[in-house]
Amino acid sequence: MRDGVWTRRDLLSVGVGAAGACAAVTAGAAAQNPLAHGLATWTFYDPRFADSERLAAALPGAGQLHPVGSDPTPLLGLVDLERGLSAPILLQGVTTEVVPFCLEHSVDRHHRLEGCSRRVDGDLFAWSLIVHPRPSAA
């Protein structure tokens, strides 16, 4: 996943543990872009991993948590990201990398993205993605 708000070097230099990584990642995204405050937010976790739900719940503005396991297909129906976006939204979570990857690549040529990601362990990443609608591509 690309770094939009923070560079990868910034993330690695933070050097915090898993919970800190999540807070740092999302705080960074939120702090850099005032539009992130008050955005419609979707927070994801992977029920296969014990730490995932706990860490995702600790993300700023987490609210309702959405489970997503190995199969990212349901993500496409959650929000019509590819074309039907009228206002910026915040997507975040503590999951395997395929989740932010699929979210990012389902929209990256249709909308503008700001994102950051930090590896938590061998399987999990803490990440956030702000999706800004571009003019309609139709």
Binding site: R2, R48, G69, S70, D71, P72, T73, L75, L76, T96, E97, V98, F101, C102, H105, S106, D108, R109, H110, R112, R119, D121, G122, D123, R134, P135, A137, A138
Partner: protein, 521 residues
């Protein structure tokens, strides 16, 4: 982001070209700078600095705009790289072969122009994804099935043109293509097959038209920009019954493939059935770390644990029956009898697999043409989410399958990678699609992955096994392995390229075909 330029094009000429493109499509659809991150290859494996970097991207909305862009590219001498949905991930995605090329992003050309339930076809533009076409068919209530690859967010046209495959009886996507409209490198518009006859009603019904059959010239090539393509769709069958057969020993592969051949050639196995390795089957909903934290090949004890836990074999066939129930019963009888000869073979229908997350349920949907992203789960197997496909082709022979399997497995293990693969059965051939998984955040692992990939290409070619499709970074090498009679085929391609595209503006380097201005000896 540093501005790169097409080779041999000055900054001034490039700027003039972009201004010409802005006049054609509007400034908001000419992308430069940070926007080009969208056109980088997420699974880039090469360690070469700046490889496959776009200099700009343009998104036209119509065939007429594509024609104008191509003419402008000729006038200004700038190269274009057409992409449809840009999701040929694992093979380069939306990135160009040659750094500095301008991506011609056809995503806005996403109309489903026609669907005929009666004749079983669709006519689509490049930006139509499998999800788009599936949703359209469902919304209209047509009794038609798609054939979908893994995953389903790619372009119907793009996948067929890259010789992609799926898993229903219509699994050879390019064989199901019928009729094209193409913008030639000089901007001229051409229709192939019966489309070349004004007023014809058979453009999507009869592939060949009259004279040389040229549609294949526009697959995996840089001879034109396809702007419309017909694809045949399967009528919804009166019955559908997916099945799974697991085989317990590694060595069973040879017997399984030899049993499979006459069943496939004789159409008893009707669809693009697959033989899937244990780890590729397990990886869709598990990760390596759930079984071990140790590097190196998984020991037999761990493989047996995975087999027991997931109720999988070392090899697993996923196939399906289509037709009226008596037909399906007869076919199943023949299939079951044949594979029962393999000691320990186990047979399943969907109701036998109780876990709702079982891979069989994913394959059951795929084999009836329901698109998904489910198979992305396997890229998490070793963490870091990168993958590239190594895809040699062989005859459907047990000895050859074993030879390929042991060659690839041993090399991957030597370099520290797990072996995950699928043997996809075509009309007369076996596609051995090996998923080389790597951590895309780790440059050391990426370097090893690149190295072992090149070794495999050369070892497979030495044994007579060529790739059917490959990543941008390896196109020249793969093209070179098709070198019979002093590379007669490549020279033929180059002759056509020089004739059609003398200024070399269309997709330089695609499939190893370089226009003369960029050609190395």
């Amino acid at each position: 982001m540093k501005q790169i330029l097409p080779p041999g094009v000055s900054a001034e000429a490039f700027a003039e070209a972009l201004n010409a493109f802005r006049t054609i499509v509007g400034s908001e659809f000419v992308y430069t700078g940070e926007s080009l991150v969208s056109y980088s290859d997420p699974y880039g494996i090469t360690t070469e600095e700046g490889a496959h970097a776009a200099s700009a991207a343009i998104a036209p909305a119509s065939t007429e705009q594509v024609q104008e862009i191509v003419r402008a590219a000729n006038r200004h001498g700038v190269p274009l790289w057409p992409v449809s949905c840009g999701r040929n991930l694992g093979y380069g995605g939306a990135s160009p072969r040659m750094s500095g090329t301008i991506v011609l992003d056809l995503k806005r050309m996403n109309r489903i122009l026609d669907v005929s339930e009666e004749d079983g076809y669709a006519l689509v533009e490049p930006g139509v994804s499998y999800f788009d076409l599936y949703n359209h068919i469902q919304a209209k209530g047509y009794k038609l099935w798609l054939d979908v690859p893994d995953p389903g967010w790619g372009s119907v046209m793009g996948n067929a043109l890259d010789h992609g495959v799926g898993y229903t009886p219509y699994g050879d996507h390019f064989a199901m293509q019928c009729g094209m409209e193409v913008v030639l490198p000089n901007g001229e518009l051409m229709r192939t097959g019966m489309g070349a006859m004004p007023g014809s009603s058979t453009w999507q019904l009869f592939k060949y038209g009259f004279g040389p059959y040229v549609d294949g010239m526009f697959s995996q090539s840089n001879f034109g920009v396809v702007t419309k393509m017909g694809i045949w769709l399967m009528p919804e069958p009166p019955g559908y019954r997916p099945y799974m057969i697991s085989f317990q020993r590694e060595d069973d592969l040879e017997q399984v493939v030899d049993i499979l051949r006459p069943l496939k050639v004789g159409s008893v196995i009707q669809n693009g059935a697959t033989i899937r390795s244990l780890l590729l089957s397990a990886a869709v909903n598990s990760t390596r770390s759930q079984y071990t934290s140790k590097p190196g090949p998984l020991p037999d004890s761990t493989l047996k644990k995975i087999m027991a836990e997931k109720e999988l074999g070392m090899w697993n066939i996923y196939g399906a029956l289509y037709g009226p129930p008596p037909v399906m019963d007869a076919l199943w009888g023949a299939i079951r009898d044949a594979f029962s000869k393999v000691p320990g073979a186990k047979f399943y229908f969907q109701e036998d697999r109780k876990d709702p997350r079982d891979l069989f349920h994913v394959r059951a949907n795929t084999m009836k043409g329901v698109p998904s992203l489910s198979e992305f789960g396997f890229v998490n197997w070793s963490g870091g989410g990168g993958h590239i496909g190594f895809s040699p082709v062989s005859a459907i022979r047990g000895k050859e399958a074993m030879k390929q399997y042991t060659l690839v497995r041993d090399r991957l293990h030597e370099y520290g990678f797990d072996y995950l693969s699928i043997f996809a059965i075509g009309w007369r051939e076996l596609h051995h699609v090996v998923e080389l998984l790597f951590d895309r955040n780790d440059p050391v692992i990426k370097r090893k992955a690149e190295e072992v990939f090149r070794v495999l290409v050369h070892e497979a070619a030495a044994a007579g096994y060529g790739e059917y499709r490959t990543h941008l970074s390896f196109m020249d090498e793969i093209a070179a392995t098709y070198g019979w009679n002093d590379h007669a085929l490549l020279k033929f391609h180059q002759t056509i390229k020089d004739a059609l595209d003398p200024k070399g503006i269309l997709a330089p380097g695609k499939s190893g075909i370089w226009p003369s201005r960029y050609r190395r000896s």
